[in-house]
Assembly symmetry: C2
Homo-oligomer: 333 residues x 2
């Protein structure tokens, strides 16, 4: 929306710049997804991996490796690793949420079953692990195994934090790091690590991925309350109906009067929702200015991402990554 005046979107510019390597990643993914013994595996994953999204996460690894002057071939392994971990997480999320649709298509667990989603997800985790072992870098293994633990921990934390009004902004941030930012920051950090750049630059790459991922998730949560269903593919208030405590609501609960708190307890904690409740929720979010405050938070994280990446030496990819940080908040700006 807001950035339609930019002729080429930053993720498209990146995809263009990295098209050769992205082709290699796709080849490697197809190759490693195959299973000699269990033909069901590529059937289940093809649906997710081939139909595929924007390949944003693997692109972050290829981009940061390129920006750091990496000349080897392991950026392709690591990009495929990151995409496998992402796909495995989606498969396991689908089981967990019993969600009916993802990217406008039926989820794998409806097309197949829960069994396939859990076990094929496990297979992709194992395959991603094999791919990173092939790089021979213990530091990369350390980063990605820590990311995997943070992702799982964040997802478990979300189980207890959801529907619990005691969830505060610190817990929300931890959940968001698990859901989104941990894989973004690992994807950008390993690009610098395999290129063997100095520690300050590796730290900046981590900070970029971390802040970008957080901005990305906050925008998603914000659009749930004020998005255009046609543009986002979500209906306004889905999170409210699913009783998810996201940032706008957490801020509203923190500022709530006694009556307002009772409203949130009934609708979110107890799940007793009636006609007009979504409208009342939206009124409270506007009343306390929490949509605007959430928007400011997203802009703040986007700014942190941009500042971090701009500490790296000049490079066309550096500027694309900086544009990407602007772009993730363009929909709310």
């Amino acid at each position: 929306m807001g950035l339609d005046h930019i002729a080429t979107k930053p993720h498209e510019a990146l995809a263009d710049h990295l098209s050769g390597k992205l082709g290699d990643v796709n080849t490697l993914i197809r190759e490693r997804m195959a299973s000699r013994h269990a033909p069901r595996i590529p059937e289940v994953t093809a649906h997710l991996v081939e139909a595929g999204g924007k390949r944003l996460r693997p692109m972050l690894t290829l981009a940061t490796a390129d920006l750091c002057g990496y000349g080897g071939a392991y950026d392709v392994h690591l990009a495929a690793t990151v995409e496998f971990i992402h796909t495995a997480t989606l498969l396991h999320d689908d089981v967990v949420d019993e969600s009916a649709q993802r990217r406008g298509r039926p989820t794998a667990n409806l097309l197949w079953d829960n069994k396939s989603s859990v076990l094929v997800g496990d297979y992709l985790f194992a395959r991603s692990f094999q791919l990173m072992v092939e790089t021979g870098s213990l530091r990369v293994l350390d980063i990605l195994s820590n990311a995997a633990a943070t992702i799982a921990e964040g997802e478990v934390l979300q189980l207890s934090a959801a529907r619990d009004l005691r969830t505060d902004e610190a817990i929300y941030l931890q959940v968001v790091r698990g859901k989104t930012a941990a894989l973004f920051s690992a994807a950008t950090e390993v690009g610098g690590v395999i290129a063997e750049v100095d520690e300050a630059h590796i730290k900046a790459l981590f900070d970029y991925g971390d802040a970008l991922g957080i901005a990305f998730q906050i925008v998603d949560d914000l659009l749930d309350y004020q998005g255009d269903a046609k543009a986002t593919g979500k209906n306004v208030g889905d999170d409210f109906r699913e009783r998810k405590l996201t940032l706008p609501v957490i801020k509203a609960v923190a500022a709530a009067s006694e009556t307002e708190r009772a409203f949130w307890e009934r609708t979110i904690e107890k799940g007793d929702q009636r006609d007009g409740d979504l409208e009342e929720a939206l009124r409270l979010l506007h009343h306390h200015g929490t949509l605007e405050a959430t928007r400011q938070d997203a802009l703040g994280w986007s700014g942190k991402a941009r500042d971090a990446i701009l500490t790296l030496p000049e490079h066309p990819v550096r500027d694309m990554l900086s544009d990407l940080a602007d772009y993730v908040v363009a929909r709310i700006n």
Copy 2:
């Protein structure tokens, strides 16, 4: 049963011999199971990890490292790794089995349990991965990542192989390697790898774990048709009722007349089971001698395990492992 005359069972003798290291493994497991952010994690895992089974798999790693003269501390890391992978697999198996029983929408409570099982399982996989990265051995990482892929692949293969009369002994063996033997053989192989013994001995340790795991699983499948419910904790015919194609049935299908094949198609493939079907199935297994043939297969694998371990130099632990190979088939001998 058959081996009650042996004063100390081999796994008890091993536990005794390795008690110091096993204590270290338990401490490490408790430490790494904890989560700063998600207290639900130790709640879910405690009943599995603490209540604890025989710790057979971690013991195999400690035993093989000891047998190979390893003097370091990473055997404890690897033993905990193996136990975490085993526990994660159990958690994911639970989800799978539950979803099979309830085709419709799960209750809120069941959904919560499923969520915890999937995500806490993922957390344990990630933690196991961190533990093995700490050993700094790329070869160990390679072995365990391959094992993880074989386990997941075997589980997926089982999904399509179950209830399909085309499943033959080769497919059965692949499934059994995934379900059981891949983790056994990885557990024994890494013990030799960290001790840096020669390749022939490492290969023998792998072969021992592989054959032991296969014997272990075949015995389990055989006892389902001829076990003593009091001793096994299973009712005769559970696998038949769940339409599982295990070795005795696979052999009977291979030898079936046209009428018999129709019986297996109806009961296993279509799941149309009536009173007296289990008795008829048992009659066919006896008629074709497949229970005895299965028993011979188990004894054969047990013998392979014993032969493999006896190629290693003399050592009290070597003899305990050899006794263990006899012990897994003692219940059917």
